[in-house]
């Protein structure tokens, strides 16, 4: 039997450790040696306990004779249960919790080495990262629209601190932009939610869904849908609401960009997936597929074209993230089991690929290489880091034997399956554009002559983390069955009949 504690435990662990981090790490500030070892140990404990709690939840869930799709856990007993804050455990949320924990751990370790521990605010930085992981896992287990909203907004608010960390004018500007967008988005969402509440009298996922299915007049629901969809689209950086993302990701330190792209970005896709597929299931509840098909086409085209004209490498990767939103939307739009599979695969594959590229670009940036011209001939100066970035680029471009290929294959096939062949064609054409500008980056790295010949020492500890991710994209690309088996239970519990 799954108790409320089992469900909330991963979130609680992260939040608890987040609170403890500042005092604990502060105590070792004065020490001369062993600081890094202590910190690695401390955060490893956090992640190990969190992993155990996630594994505990997963094993309890799958130990049931037939795992229920919507395992509903409320704080209050009947009859008030409908109005209470609700947690939800199903195959999707467990899958998301697992990948958030794993990817979070890897990216966190990178930040640990990347952000100099003597910096004044470093312990605050770690603490915020932990609390974001906690909140994003909380989002995955939210069972009603309000809980989802609260956890998700907490994640977004936490993200803004990561962007602000360096406190340069640029980052202030970017954070302001982000906050304004997020506040507009949350206003939209709250407005939409209030209409949904008025229509159904509840915010609980499945109660809402059932009430909406029985709804006769859907005009009000359409208005609510527009607001909710717009709000969550802003947070997921769907074109035309993407303007905040390149600035935010460029202004943040590389470790935060990696973190944001690998966790918060994927979290926002999860929210879209949950709301669009699981609650507003088309076509019975709300036929929104065409609208999102157009948005996804727009996102793929605009994201890739902007990247094509960009010369700042970190910003270029940020535009690739926008293009990835488009590919994710293609899969959501298809509303097929294959598409959902592709989506969940993309959450991990896309997440680690973007994280990997932000990490490597972060190393280059910290050496003063920022634009494409600076990257000239860097392949010979820093061979390992360049190789990692090159492999990430191939994974983005959807070249086989890398994780990105399987994700794209699933996504495009699902679009064909859903009779959206035009979307699949736009998708493959834009991914050729993607290959073009990523190859241009590789061209700069290997073909051009460097400005000076001297070899540069590569940071060993950061490279170790990077190599883990490189191995992951190759393994997931060659033998995707590992992850697909993990996704399989989700496909057994889809809310629509394929």
């Amino acid at each position: 039997m799954i108790e409320i504690l089992d469900t909330a435990l991963p979130t609680i662990v992260f939040i608890l450790f987040s609170l403890l981090t500042i005092p604990v790490v502060k105590t070792i500030r004065k020490r001369k040696s062993g600081k890094t070892a202590f910190k690695v140990g401390w955060f490893s404990v956090a992640f190990i306990i969190a992993t155990i709690s996630v594994v505990n939840l997963a094993s309890k869930y799958y130990a049931q004779p037939s795992p229920q799709p919507f395992l509903n856990i409320t704080l209050t007993a009947e009859p008030l249960a409908m109005f209470s804050s609700t947690f939800l455990v199903d195959a999707v949320s467990i899958y998301m919790a697992i990948i958030f924990t794993i990817v979070g751990a890897v990216v966190f370790m990178y930040s640990l080495f990347y952000v100099d521990s003597d910096e004044k605010l470093s312990e605050r930085y770690y603490s915020i990262m932990l609390i974001i992981i906690g909140c994003v896992i909380g989002t995955a287990f939210a069972g009603d629209l309000l809980t989802l909203f609260i956890f998700w907004e907490a994640t977004a608010a936490g993200s803004s601190f990561l962007m602000l960390y360096r406190k340069t004018p640029k980052s202030l500007h970017a954070t302001l932009k982000y906050l304004v967008m997020i506040i507009i988005a949350s206003a939209f969402i709250v407005y939409g939610l209030s209409i949904v509440y008025a229509l159904t009298g509840t915010l609980n996922f499945w109660a809402v869904k059932n009430a909406l299915m029985a709804l006769g007049d859907k005009h009000l629901l359409e208005i609510a849908f527009i607001f909710i969809a717009a709000g969550y689209s802003i947070e997921a950086a769907v074109v035309p609401f993407h303007m905040w993302l390149p600035d935010a990701y460029t202004a943040a330190p590389a470790s935060s960009s990696a973190f944001l792209s690998a966790l918060v970005d994927q979290g926002s896709y999860y929210v879209l997936l949950r709301v669009l597929i699981y609650i507003l299931t088309p076509p019975t509840v709300m036929p929104w597929t065409f609208m999102f098909a157009v948005l996804s086409a727009l996102t793929m085209v605009v994201g890739n074209l902007l990247a094509l004209t960009e010369r700042n490498v970190k910003r270029l990767i940020a535009y690739v993230c926008i293009a990835d939103v488009g590919y994710n939307l293609v899969a959501i739009t298809s509303v097929t089991p294959l598409g959902i599979m592709g989506n969940l695969y993309f959450f991990l594959a896309g997440g680690i690929t973007t994280a990997l590229s932000f990490m490597t670009v972060g190393i280059f940036n910290s050496m003063g290489f920022k634009t494409l011209d600076d990257f000239s001939g860097i392949g010979r100066k820093m061979p390992l880091t360049s190789l990692a970035l090159t492999l990430a680029a191939f994974s983005f471009a959807g070249v086989p034997a890398f994780a990105g290929f399987i994700a794209k294959y699933l996504v495009f096939t699902s679009a064909i399956e859903a009779n959206l062949s035009w979307l699949a064609i736009i998708g493959v054409l834009t991914s050729v554009v993607q290959a073009a500008y990523l190859l241009r980056l590789i061209n700069y790295m290997y073909a051009k002559k460097p400005q000076e010949e001297a070899k540069i020492k590569e940071p060993k500890k950061l490279l170790a983390i990077i190599l883990i991710l490189v191995a992951a994209i190759i393994v997931l690309g060659v033998y995707p069955t590992i992850l697909l088996n993990l996704i399989d239970p989700v496909i057994q519990q889809l809310p629509f009949v394929p």
Binding site: P400, Y409, I416, V428, A435, L439, T481, L484
Partner: protein
């Protein structure tokens, strides 16, 4: 052997780090390692010959667990066609590696070069010996990445530009292949080419039509048929000679093989009886003729030693397309596949010889060359052999296969009048190919010597050329073995 085919793919995969490490120590060791792997792989492939010739369905299959969710198993198979092309591929890789010992010796980064070559060999062989479309696509794109870096890293003039063009063109082609594969998966729920064939028979013909077009367009880019040939002259002429030999010999053949195996073998039967079926074949004919004439005519006026050969490759892919358009006539298909084999060795030899000339003279314009026959006798012999084979002169390899294609064409004319004019035009094109072949040999090796103190190439380059020369002659005189293998495959 039980796992022969699996080993052919895993042996080079496991060897990559060893090749790389040995390349750090010595400049010859990695080439020998690659040669050794190729020989072992040829031996492994040969163990399947009895089941190809005498087996019930004339093929040998191995299947392993891979991605059950996508209905993909790691299925490897060989039949007569796969075996012939895969063997020739391995021979070309072997000679390319040996040739590189001397050819590349002054270059930097040889460890990376040989490691990439090993990586390339996995994709090159894999694409011919799998019947699972997902695995096929893996190998298809695995040809791309190492080639990109080899052309870019060790090519001539502006190599990364040529490599970029190559990558983008063929990748754009590949995504259409991917769309086709996705659609096949969606329609049939299977990715095995043989099972998909039966399943497609009952599918919606309108959709099958689009699948066929999408796949064929994608494959045609790799094959460099006119009008999607633009990447080939640059990529082939800027690449280092061993890579050009592989590009021209094997990589573009992979495009032709894929059209035969996937487009025609798997998808086409579903629409064969319809009007669209014959329209499709006629379309192939037209593009074949265009490629043959375009390639030959430009080869006639081009002065760059490697670009002549590159354009001649476009012309020969024209013959192959013409041969494919005669599907499913047995002689024509046998001739086409045999032409892929023969063209691979002949063109490989020609590129290696051109590389030898370029290496010794360090110029590329054939007008500045002349009279090299006395100074470089071995290279001159090998070039002449290759050029005559390319021109379709007996007793060299390409004669037999071109002859078979024309026999097939005449048979087809009995059924379909359309082929009357194309066949006549193709006969004219062979005259053109003789013209540029003679021009090539004449300018470079005959006439008065324009350079002094030119010597013939070092040992390993000679060895590589002699091996291929032997194949060109043997395949010309005694093609029976391959013909026997290829005719054991039946498509319809």
């Amino acid at each position: 052997m039980q796992n022969a085919l699996l080993l052919t793919l895993f042996l080079p995969t496991l060897a990559v780090p060893f090749v790389y490490l040995s390349g750090k120590k010595s400049s010859r060791m990695p080439a020998f390692l690659i040669a050794l792997i190729c020989i072992i792989n040829i031996a492994l492939l040969s163990t399947t010959v009895p089941s190809i010739l005498n087996g019930a369905d004339h093929k040998y299959v191995e299947s392993y667990y891979w991605i059950p969710v996508l209905h993909s198993s790691f299925t490897l198979f060989v039949d007569g066609i796969s075996f012939s092309i895969a063997t020739i591929t391995l021979i070309l890789i072997l000679t390319a590696a040996l040739f590189s010992i001397n050819y590349m010796q002054e270059k930097k980064g040889l460890a990376e070069y040989y490691a990439l070559l090993t990586l390339l060999s996995i994709g090159l062989v894999g694409v011919f010996i799998t019947s699972n479309l997902m695995l096929f696509y893996f190998c298809w794109e695995l040809m791309l990445v190492p080639t990109y870096f080899i052309i870019g890293g060790w090519g001539y003039r502006e190599p990364y530009k040529a490599a970029f063009k190559f990558f983008i063109f063929t990748h754009a082609g590949a995504v259409f292949v991917l769309l086709g594969i996705g659609a096949i998966f969606m329609v049939t729920g299977d990715l095995d080419i043989f099972q998909a064939q039966t399943a497609l028979m009952t599918a919606n013909p309108e959709l099958v039509k689009w699948i066929l077009l999408s796949l064929t367009a994608g494959f045609a880019v790799k094959m460099a048929a006119v009008p999607v040939h633009m990447w080939l002259p640059d990529a082939h002429s800027e690449a280092p000679a061993p890579m050009s030999a592989l590009l021209s010999g094997v990589i573009i053949s992979a495009g032709a093989y894929a059209i035969l195996r996937v487009s025609l073998g798997t998808v086409f039967p579903a629409v064969m009886a319809t009007d669209f079926g014959s329209l499709f074949l006629h379309g192939l004919t037209v593009f074949g003729i265009l490629s043959a004439f375009f390639g030959s005519l430009i080869a006639l006026v081009e002065n760059d030693i490697k670009r002549i050969i590159a354009y001649s490759s476009i012309a020969h892919m024209g013959y192959v397309l013409f041969g494919l358009s005669l599907f499913p006539f047995q002689e024509a298909i046998t001739g086409t596949v045999l032409h892929l084999v023969n063209h691979a060795v002949s063109k490989g030899l020609l590129f290696l010889s051109a590389g030898a000339v370029m290496k010794q003279l360090e110029i590329r314009d054939i007008r500045e060359m002349g009279g090299l026959v006395g100074q470089m006798p071995i290279t001159a012999t090998s070039s002449t052999t290759a050029a005559l084979s390319i021109a379709g002169i007996p007793p060299f390899a390409c004669f037999i296969s071109e002859f078979l294609i024309f026999v097939g064409a005449f048979q087809t004319i009995n059924n379909d009048n359309f082929y009357l004019l194309p066949t006549a035009l193709m006969l004219v094109a062979t005259v053109l190919s003789l013209a540029y072949a003679l021009r090539f040999v004449g300018h470079i090796f005959l006439g008065s010597a324009k350079h002094e103190k030119v010597t013939d190439v070092p040992f390993f380059m000679k060895l590589a050329m002699i091996i291929l020369m032997a194949f060109v002659v043997i395949l010309g005189i005694w093609p029976t073995f391959f013909i026997q293998l290829i005719t054991s495959v039946s498509f319809v």
